[in-house]
């Protein structure tokens, strides 16, 4: 049994919130450069150039890449040989978010009640997903999620015989429906199988993968490639103003499911592909 003080987790969450909101993912910046070479439309090239310039300014001036610094989604993989001490785990995560958003001058975008609203003033609570895994460490992944793209996310309970064609059709339908709203170039997270909520969580977790990293399963890796190609043929383009660079990557996760169904969840992420991790 290894003891870990939850204040160590709090500090990690604080730092990860700040850094991932301010420093752009270098893989994403490389993808913008590649897009600039491939785009023929001057507007598309100009948008990508602007995004590169924005990332430079954000890092230099220590400003968030995007003003929507998101609702904090935190994945915790907790080793089963860990004994957490020093306070409650959820409170520690929320305190980390509170400090990160205050001290990092990040926007407070969370309301107390989904219907009657009222800003909580400190961007808490975070959405926390915990898993118990073998080992004696705690892996923390912070993925702040902006709602321009979160609002363009969908779940469909497909039929068991819908196959890869059915999945492709649904994902493309979602991307077309989203159009310019989720701030393309987008990253598309897809969760296939499990149950209703499992599919959604898998789609979200797919958005914590390094940009463009292929699934370890050959059939899913092929699906990712095919979907990326098809999405970039829609013409939506950067910011929906037309072009070839609509998505930077498609990441697919899958899980066994019930004989009667095939849930498919599509979680879209904007080009501010923010995720950062640390193991304590």
């Amino acid at each position: 049994m290894r003891e870990i003080d939850v204040r160590e987790i709090e500090r990690a969450v604080r730092d990860l919130c700040v850094e991932t909101n301010i420093v752009a993912d270098t893989d994403v910046l490389d993808a913008f450069r590649k897009g600039m070479e491939e785009e023929e439309s001057p507007v598309a090239r100009e948008v990508l150039r602007t995004l590169l310039e924005n990332a430079r300014i954000a890092a230099e001036e220590r400003l968030p890449i995007c003003q929507d610094t998101g609702m904090a989604v935190v994945f915790l993989d907790i080793g089963q040989d860990v004994h957490l001490v020093g306070g409650g785990l959820e409170e520690a995560v929320n305190e980390g978010v509170r400090k990160g958003y205050r001290e990092g001058y990040l926007r407070k975008s969370v309301v107390k009640h989904p219907v009657t609203r009222g800003n909580t003033g400190d961007n808490t609570p975070a959405v926390i997903h915990t898993r118990i895994v073998p080992g004696d460490g705690v892996k923390i992944t912070v993925a702040p999620k902006g709602f321009g793209s979160e609002n363009m996310s969908f779940v469909k309970m497909c039929t068991p015989t819908a196959g890869f064609d059915g999945i492709r059709k649904f994902v493309l339908e979602c991307v077309r429906k989203a159009g310019g709203n989720p701030c393309p170039p987008i990253v598309v997270g897809v969760g296939i199988g499990g149950t209703f909520e499992k599919a959604a969580i898998m789609a979200k977790e797919a958005l914590t993968r390094p940009l463009g990293e292929r699934s370890g399963r050959e059939d899913l890796a092929r699906l990712e490639e095919e979907l990326l190609g098809e999405i970039n043929k829609t013409g939506i383009g950067p910011q929906g103003l037309g072009g070839k660079t609509t998505a930077l990557a498609v990441h697919v996760n899958a899980f066994p499911t019930h004989i009667a169904g095939m849930p498919v969840a599509v979680n879209i992420c904007c080009h501010a592909y923010r995720h950062a991790g640390k193991t304590v």
């Binding site: 100009e46 602007t50 001036e61 400003l63 890449i65 995007c66 003003q67 001058y105 929906g240 037309g242």
Partner: protein, 179 residues
């Protein structure tokens, strides 16, 4: 692309001359307003109250900035998705609004109202909040401070870069891209 410079408030002649696809640099005063501010403003007007700012010739920027770090007038301030303001936008144009800055396509009702009132819809680059913040020289809270990031803030901007997404004749870049 050579950009067209405009200053606020926008006159009818200037607004109607801008065409979809034009790059524009805005200088002057613009006002941030998003979901909650639109709801409050239109509810107040429906009750016969005056809006907290005179909208004649003005531009609404659909945005909720991040807090200003020490020594800066504002934090990151990029556009939010515009369709959420669609239900309120025709009313704001009726009150004199000449321009909207946001991102993403608008509803037919909004474009129809733009044609009626000679208003323009500009797209700013979503997720370029740090770059856009550099064009903001001053920020002053105007109304609904209790809404936090959703309050109406008066921004003094210099060469704020936007693209005409939909012009006052109804030409629409988003519709063209989706076709």
């Amino acid at each position: 692309m050579a950009a067209i410079r405009v200053t606020t408030p926008l006159t009818d002649a200037v607004a109607r001359k801008l065409k979809a696809g034009d790059s524009v640099l805005i200088t002057g005063v613009i006002y941030t307003a998003r979901d909650a501010a639109h709801q409050r403003l239109t509810e107040a007007v429906a009750k016969g109250e005056r809006p907290p700012v005179d909208l004649k010739g003005q531009i609404f920027y659909y945005a909720g900035p991040s807090p200003a770090p020490p020594g800066k007038p504002i934090g990151s301030v990029g556009p939010t998705t515009s369709y959420r303001m669609d239900a309120f936008a025709p009313k704001t144009m009726e009150l004199g609004l000449k321009g909207m800055i946001g991102k993403g396509p608008r509803a037919k009702e909004v474009i129809d109202a733009m044609k009626r009132h000679g208003a323009v819809y500009f797209a700013a680059v979503g997720g370029a909040g740090a770059l856009l913040a550099k064009c903001v020289k001053a920020a002053k809270p105007v109304a609904y401070a209790d809404l936090g990031a959703e309050a109406i803030t008066e921004l003094t901007v210099e060469d704020f870069p936007v693209i005409v997404a939909t012009d006052a004749a109804g030409n629409d870049l988003y519709a063209a891209a989706a076709a």
